[in-house]
Structure formats: C-alpha cells, structure tokens
C-alpha cells in the first residue's frame, strides 16, 4: 500500500488563534481513514487546511509524492484533492444539474464528466429525478447526497468528507455509510472521513486518528482502536 496523502506537523488556525498545534497523519491509497474527536478539537480546521482554503502556518502537506502546502485551493482540486465541506455548502439557487456541472470545473473532472455523472446517478437515483430542481429546495438527505455527488463528479483522487451525516436521521446515516464503503470497495476511492457518528465511522473505517485540542492523541487500525479501552469508553460509551 502506498501513501496518498501525508501531513506532517501541520500548524494552522484562524486570525491570531492557533487551532492545530502540529497535526501529522497519513492516508493510504484505497482506504477509508477516519478522523475522530469531539467538537472543537480541530477536525474541520485540519480538512480546510489540507484543502487549501485555510493557509498552513507551518508544516507540510504531501499529496501523491508532491508537496502542495503552498498551492491555492483550486490547484489542489485540479490534482484531485477534493473536500465535501461540512454543512454541504451547495450552491442553493442553482439547480441540481448546474451544481453537478459546476463541480466538473477542473480539467480532470471535465474529461470524465459523463462517466462520473452516470456513476453518481447509479449511486443516488433520487438526484436524477430532481435534476432541474433548485438545490436549496431539496430535503436534508438529498442535499447531502448532492454534496457527495458533487465531490464525486469532480473526479477525486481523495475525497475528504466533513461530517456527511450531520443532521440526518439514523437510517440515512447508515445509507451514507454504505455509500462510502461501496465507493471504496468498488471504485477504490480513497477517503478521509471526519464523522461525529463514531459508530458509523468505525463500522466502515480502516484506520483511525483521534484528535484532542489540536493534536493527534491516538491512532491505529480500527480493530486495534476497538480494543483500546480508553477509546471505547470515551467515544463509544462502552
């Protein structure tokens, strides 16, 4: 297995406030790596810094054996480093089709647009029925489907998902989990998943990192983590 994304000693934050105090993590190709931790420990900040919307204060981000630390976000998207942001962040006034069309903005996505669109409709047939509806008028679950679909249409090498189950009913959370698993198993997609539903995350994840106060405090294969009594107590209540 080769390392697709490597982050070393990442420091970043907002304004004067340092949020990440040196985060290091690795994501192997074709796996689901989960980033766990309670609210406000810096999970979202980590993803936003990797995606390039937030500038890294120091540290290194390596993607596909290439350093991308200083690249602007749209260049990283061009290389296949795609974020599905928390709270969906769709373009609400635009239709479902326009949202998907716009997600194929990069050259790498444009080339495979038709193919990826087909894939996405297979995964979420509901979206095909809603093609000409404004994204803002979709239900919460449908919006999340569209957010993931948008990520997939942009032809990712790695898909970073921030809280894809946020605000969804338990059954939908399961569905989303199944979709992510299917993408790994069938497409070989690499996923970096931030998830508040630890149950779902550990049920599909291969490797896990646990964050506390802007630092990684625990890491390991999910099976190993599940044997760690501290982890079980803190995050699964067992």
């Amino acid at each position: 297995m080769s390392i697709l994304l490597g982050v070393e000693n990442l420091v970043s934050g907002y304004g004067e406030t340092e949020v990440l105090h040196g985060v290091s993590l690795k994501v192997e190709r074709g796996t689901i790596t989960t980033l766990l931790g309670s609210n406000g420990v810096g999970k979202t900040t980590t993803l936003w810094t990797i995606s390039g919307i937030l500038k890294a204060w120091s540290g290194k981000i390596k993607f596909n054996d290439e350093e991308v630390t200083m690249l602007p976000a749209h260049h990283r998207a061009e290389k296949g480093l795609i974020l599905v942001p928390e709270g969906r962040r769709l373009w609400p006034q635009l239709t479902v089709y326009e949202n998907l069309y716009l997600a194929s903005f990069t050259r790498r996505a444009r080339e495979k647009f038709e193919e990826n669109l087909e894939k996405v409709f297979n995964l979420f047939p509901r979206l095909k029925e809603r093609l000409n509806q404004q994204a803002g008028t979709l239900s919460g679950g449908e919006q999340q489907m569209l957010a993931i679909a948008r990520g997939l249409v942009s032809n990712p090498e790695i898909l970073m998902m921030d809280e894809p189950s946020l605000g969804l009913a338990p059954k939908l959370v399961q569905d989303i989990g199944r979709v992510i698993k299917r993408l790994r198993d069938e497409e070989g997609l690499t996923v970096l998943l931030v998830e508040q539903s630890v149950q779902m995350a550990v049920s599909i994840g291969d490797y896990g990192y646990v964050m506390e106060n802007g630092r990684i405090v625990l890491e390991g294969a999910i099976d190993e983590l599940m044997e760690n009594s501290k982890f079980k107590q803190a995050y699964l209540g067992m």
Binding site: I53, A77, W91, L102, T106
Partner: protein
C-alpha cells in the same frame, strides 16, 4: 443542451435589439418620432449600464459602488480624444467643410474607435490594479472600498482636466461636429448590441457558471476548482469595460463632465440590478427598463421629487421582494422560469 440561438435569453436579447433597430429606422419621420428616438437613446444607456453592473453584481454577487468610475473613464476618454488632444479646431474645421456642416463618418469612426481603445486600456488597468487589492475582501468590506475607488479616480481626473482644459476641472465641451440625434442613436445602438450579447454569452459560458458558483458560495467554488480570485478580477474588468462604453456614448452626445464619476451613477446601476433581481441576465434588463420608465414619468410629472420617489420605490422593492422582480415572477409563475435566465 439546446443550441445557443434557441435559448430564451438569446431570443429575448435579439427581440430587444430588433426593437431598437426598428425604432431607429422609424425615428426620422416627424417631431414626435424624434422624441421617441431620444427616449430610445436614453433607454439603451440605462440598460447598458445595468448590464455592465450585472457582470460583477448579478453574476458574481459582488456589490460595487465603484462602477461609475468606469462610466467616468469612458466619458473622459471621449473628452480626451475630442478636446484634450487639441484636435478641437480640426474637428470643427472638418465639420464646416463636411456636407451640411458635419464631420465625415470616417472621421467620426476614427474618434469613436480611439475613445474605445483608450477607455478599454484605462479601465482594464484600473480594474486589475484595484481589483488585485480589494477583491480579496468580501461583502460589505468590498462594497465600501469601491466607494474609495470612486473618489480617488474622480479627483485624479479632475486634476488632469483642471491643468490641461480650457473649461476648468468640471467639464470638456465637445467641438461642433454637426451630429444629429440619429447619429447618437446609432452610436448607442452599436454599443448596445455589443453589451447585451457579451453580457448574455458571459452568463451562459463556463466563466459565467464560475461566477455563479462564487456568488452562491465562494469557498465551495474554490474547493471545486474555480480560480475565484482570477475570475473576480476578470468580471470586475469586463464590467468596467462595458460601463466605460456607456460613458463614451453619452460623452459623444452630451460632452464629458465630472458628473459621470459621481456615486449616484453607481447607485442607479445597483438599483437596476436589485429591482430586476440578482443572479439573472433578464433581471437587470427588466430592472433597467422599469427604472427608466419610472424616472422618465416622474421627471415629467413631479420634477425635483423624482429622487425621493425613486428612493421610496427601492425601499419597497427591497423590503417586499428582496429577490427582485425576476425572483417574484419565478415564484408566482413557475412556468415562466425557463424564460427568466
């Protein structure tokens, strides 16, 4: 995808262009029809500046109080070409020897083109330099910084005209060219065709979609690979170029004056967009037509009270239909949706 030429926006644009074409041909019949020609000229100007603003405001969602700068630059360019280059005497002389005391169309075309080139050059320069600095800001911060832009450029130009013009700092009177209202009408018409089709093709291009993504959620646009900063600068510059065209058109007709730089020009452009509806191509056109009709009917009935009433109208529109007329129509008549691109 439907062919471009069969899309609603293209059809509507073409109908409007044909309307002005017919008006121009019918215009020279009698005194009344000539009045309509003058109205038509004004209307083209109002739609023109509305669409110029639309590119940065309706498409990209950035409210700019500075677009009047570009109208001003356009009118200054014309003033520069006709007056400050010390050609006034030549132009007046050409007019005298020309048929019926009018300069030839060739010379007019030369001066027109020179004004365009000068205006485009200055507009792009200012848009890129200023855009580089202020397009990093978002929302209200961007809007406020553009007010500063307006004043800085206005006083700069005032200084240039003051030191070099025989008329003081406020205006540059055109030399006598012997042109009629019909000539001005056709000059407006040329710029109108360019403006309306450029605005429409931008809207349906990849560039236009990128701007829509920026308007709806800028961070999401960046994540999905839109080079947001570059797109915003392009939009700012293109909006500026189109706005400068209308400064040129008006300056040929009425001479350059400092008034073209004034903030209320920007506010008119802004109101046209807000009233029509942000996010669309048709919206700013509808907004401009309504604005012009209201202003014209108020001016002829209540005179000085026009601005007060227009102001009140804007407050009502923003309070009750924040999505503008297009937004309202879309809600009430879903079947019209596809015509309201």
């Amino acid at each position: 995808m439907v062919s471009v030429f069969r899309r609603p926006g293209f059809i509507i644009s073409t109908i409007i262009v044909l309307f002005f074409l017919v008006l121009g041909y019918l215009g020279n019949i009698n005194a009344i029809s000539r009045m309509y020609v003058s109205n038509g000229t004004d209307l083209m100007y109002y739609i023109g500046i509305g669409l110029a603003m639309a590119i940065i405001m309706s498409y990209a969602g950035y409210v700019s109080f500075g677009q009047a700068v570009f109208v001003g630059i356009g009118s200054f360019s014309t003033g520069y070409v006709l007056v400050l280059m010390n050609r006034s005497n030549i132009i007046s002389y050409l007019a005298k020897i020309g048929s019926g005391g009018r300069i030839s169309n060739t010379m007019l075309a030369v001066y027109f083109t020179e004004s365009l080139l000068l205006a485009i050059t200055i507009s792009v320069f200012i848009a890129v330099v200023v855009g580089y600095a202020v397009l990093r800001l978002r929302g209200a911060f961007f809007a406020i910084s553009t007010i500063g832009l307006d004043y800085v450029v206005m006083y700069l130009v005032k200084y240039i005209t003051k030191t070099r013009s025989p008329f003081g700092g406020e205006e540059l009177l055109n030399p006598s060219m012997g042109l009629t209202d019909m000539t001005f009408y056709w000059m407006h018409f040329i710029l109108f065709i360019i403006t309306i089709y450029v605005a429409y093709f931008v809207k349906i291009s990849k560039f236009g979609y990128g701007l829509a993504a920026i308007r709806e959620d800028e961070d999401a646009a960046e994540i999905m690979g839109v080079n947001t900063f570059r797109y915003k600068i392009y939009a700012f510059a293109l909006s500026g170029i189109l706005a400068s065209f209308w400064g040129i058109a008006e300056a040929f007709r009425k001479s350059y004056s400092i008034g073209y730089f004034k903030l209320d020009k920007s506010i008119i452009m802004l109101v046209e967009n807000v009233v029509g509806g942000i996010g669309s191509f048709i919206g700013p056109i509808i907004g401009s037509i309504i604005y012009y009709l209201l202003e014209w009917s108020f001016l002829t009935t209540v005179g000085q009270w026009t601005l007060v009433i227009l102001g009140a109208t804007v407050v009502v529109v923003v309070a009750f239909f924040p999505e503008g007329i297009v937004g309202l129509l879309k809600k009430r008549f879903p079947r019209l949706r596809k015509w309201l691109e």
